[in-house]
């Protein structure tokens, strides 16, 4: 389109495009609705209800000087890495509550951190707009910051990062509205993912056989599924009423859950291409900051901004339990790799292990 053409009638072209877009959207919703022959809770009627649910705090990890923003488990099922607003990233053996490593980042608000699959490194980033990888040295005297590798460079804050199946690649999402895949050794960008209209807040890798997709959620209320090879957005879902803070795949990889500022968690099925469940209650007013499934996918844990953790029965759609303990908003929540416990991090400076 010639620049002149655009300049002379920009509003006309935009209006026609807008109407076309709206019409297609309505058609799409109609098509999606055609195959929706049953609700999840109807299918779940024949299942036994879950009994009394008792989960307690089994460990409290104290040591951060400010709000805990993110955490991740190590594949060894007991170590975790956590990052905080004061710029510190700490690696803990959560089982003994010992701190094993600590890194001070050159920026505050370290909003993303991830443990490498090998357990030999951690990645983190935040307001520095970068994602850096720190190899974990066992030499107590060594300054971890010295061996740091700057991998990702965004033009706005880093909101989430995770390693793919190896230590060699990192997937990041940023406040600049994009996600990107990076090669750790060279720092080269392998693929970028454009499509969100606002900050991207979270992402999760699919546990599928072919391992080539991931889902991201953003401030544009959209959750998008991406093909890592081509950079294309394969599917997108827009039913939330506010920012999506967290996305997590259902263990089979056929669906994913999302948690949002609109105080609901929702389940989206990828094959049916629609939202299939909403987890909400009138009494839950504050937004969900993070969600994760139990190993079997029957339970969905949600950390909320009202300091609580709600446990949902994924199939029946009901709340099974509410966990109290944190003294400020819950900012991050992950179930351990073998499903024996989950860890929650909070603005009250602590992390708790629940089992």
């Amino acid at each position: 389109m010639a620049a002149q053409e655009v300049a002379s009638q920009p509003s006309d072209t935009l209006t026609t495009l807008k109407t076309e877009s709206e019409t297609l959207k309505t058609k799409l919703e109609e098509e999606r609705a055609k195959l929706h022959d049953v609700e999840l809770h109807q299918v779940a009627e024949k299942i036994e209800a879950l009994g009394q649910f008792v989960m307690k705090t089994r460990r409290t990890l104290k040591g951060h000087g400010n709000k805990v923003l993110c955490m991740d488990w190590c594949k060894d099922k007991r170590r975790i890495v956590s990052s905080s607003q004061d710029g510190k990233v700490i690696v803990w053996d959560a089982f003994t509550t010992n701190k094993e490593h600590a890194v001070t980042m050159p920026c505050t608000w370290v909003m993303a951190c991830a443990y490498a699959p090998s357990g030999c490194a951690v990645a983190c980033g935040g307001l520095d707009n970068k994602c850096s990888v720190y190899p974990l040295s066992l030499d107590k005297n060594e300054n971890l910051a010295a061996k740091k590798k700057s991998v990702a460079m965004h033009t706005n804050y880093l909101s989430a990062c995770c390693f793919t199946n190896s230590d060699m690649q990192i997937l990041t999402s940023s406040g600049d509205g994009t996600c990107a895949l990076w090669d750790v050794e060279s720092g080269q960008m392998l693929q970028s993912f454009h499509g969100h209209a606002a900050d991207v807040l979270c992402l999760d890798l699919a546990p599928s056989e072919t391992g080539n997709t991931f889902v991201s959620g953003g401030c544009d209320k959209k959750a998008c599924v991406w093909d890592m090879r081509t950079g294309q957005c394969i599917q997108s879902f827009e039913t939330h009423e506010s920012d999506i803070n967290s996305v997590r795949y259902y263990p089979s990889g056929d669906a994913f859950a999302s948690g949002s500022d609109d105080a609901t968690c929702r389940l989206y099925d990828l094959r049916a291409d629609r939202e299939v469940a909403i987890y909400s209650k009138e009494s839950i007013i504050f937004g969900t900051s993070s969600v994760d499934f139990s190993l079997s996918g029957r339970l969905l844990f949600g950390g909320y901004n009202d300091y609580t953790i709600n446990v949902w029965d994924v199939l029946k759609g009901t709340r099974v339990s509410i966990l109290f303990g944190h003294e400020n908003r819950v900012s991050t929540l992950r179930v351990s790799p073998d499903g024996t416990a989950f860890c929650s991090g909070s603005w009250d400076h602590t992390l708790r292990i629940w089992a």
Partner: protein, 433 residues
Amino acid sequence: MTINTLSQDGVQRQQMPCLTKMERMIISMQDPDMGIKLRNQRLLITVIPHKCSISDEEALHVGQLFVKYGYIYPLKEPRNLILKADDSSYRFQTPYYWMSTRWPASELDYAIYLAKKNIRKQGELIEYEKECYNALHKRINHTWDFVVMQAREQLRASKQRRKGDRIVLECQEQAYWLVNRPPVSPEHYKLTTLTKNTIIEHNRISLARNRVKSSICLESYVKYCEQYQPHDPIMQGCLPSNPWITDDIMFWNMNSETVALPTKLRVERWSFSFMELLNDQMGRKEFLTYLEKEFSAENLCFWQACEDVRHGETAKIPEKVDEVYKQFLAPGASRWVNIDSKTMEKTLEGLKRPHRFVLDDAQMHIYFLMKKDSYPRYLKSELYKNLLARAIVPQETKKSVFPFMRRQRHSSPSPALATQTAEDDGKAKDESR
């Protein structure tokens, strides 16, 4: 919630330290003794180390930030908010218009400014300003009388000032609005139409997608949850006990990669899906043993080698792909894999320019071959059945009778150490050769 959309206060709280710092520097730059050289009539700055330690590049960069945030504004090309390292003229912005004092720039003020301009220039506003003016007129129509009245009042007041002062004030105001309401370029329209086109394309593709009935999808969740429930420690507990509850790490020890005899649950899980078998290192080893008996072990090895290419270092891809070709794909290769001719042709063609995904088609072919053929036979094999029969069902450890006597929580070797030792061993082996 994102940092960027924290309450208005929040953003200002975050920006304030930067702004305060900038303002400190600006003030010191205007110090009559130590500051920048100013020239009469027009205040001028040249590039600027006011500390010896700052390089010219850094000074220029800091200067750019000053211009971007409106503390200094250019006189010659007011719309071009950059700092040039020549003798173009700039002026310091009056503190009245500093970002820290006048943030956020209100719609009302902008409307008044545009109204003034409109009156002065008798309707000759620039394109984007015209758009903004019309949009504002629509949005705050209820106070429009006030806007026009204020505009007229301010114009009248300014006429009574000295010409020099009037010009400076106009420049200052214009600079302030150029920073706080940057012009929208024709590129923006292009971008918006482009984005809209992409969305339309995306929706068209979505419409054409094959969907599955909800009933089928939802049933699959029920099945999955049912199948995995015995394996979910939070739902059904785990044997001998959940380490987090009893402080006993037997559960982890019994399920480690190198244990002699696996647990029954673990072996059962391998039968849930091919992915489960491959994801467990022990399962993978067992499967390899089985394949060796069937003389098709090269399939699994090929699949593993492809995974290594896909997830490995970018720099090593060409050499890895070459290795794979030599071992698995070349005619007469020692571990030749049986791929259909079409895929083989395509792969060999792609090998001329090796990239991360060049082996994907071949890998997928072999994966599905194993999944449909070898895997089901493995599950029926004596090897698997024997292992399942011998597998352990751990005894439940009750929680300690005396709850206040906590078991000692043993630490475990860090995974980082494990790799280091392996590397050291590897090195020692190499050296001893």
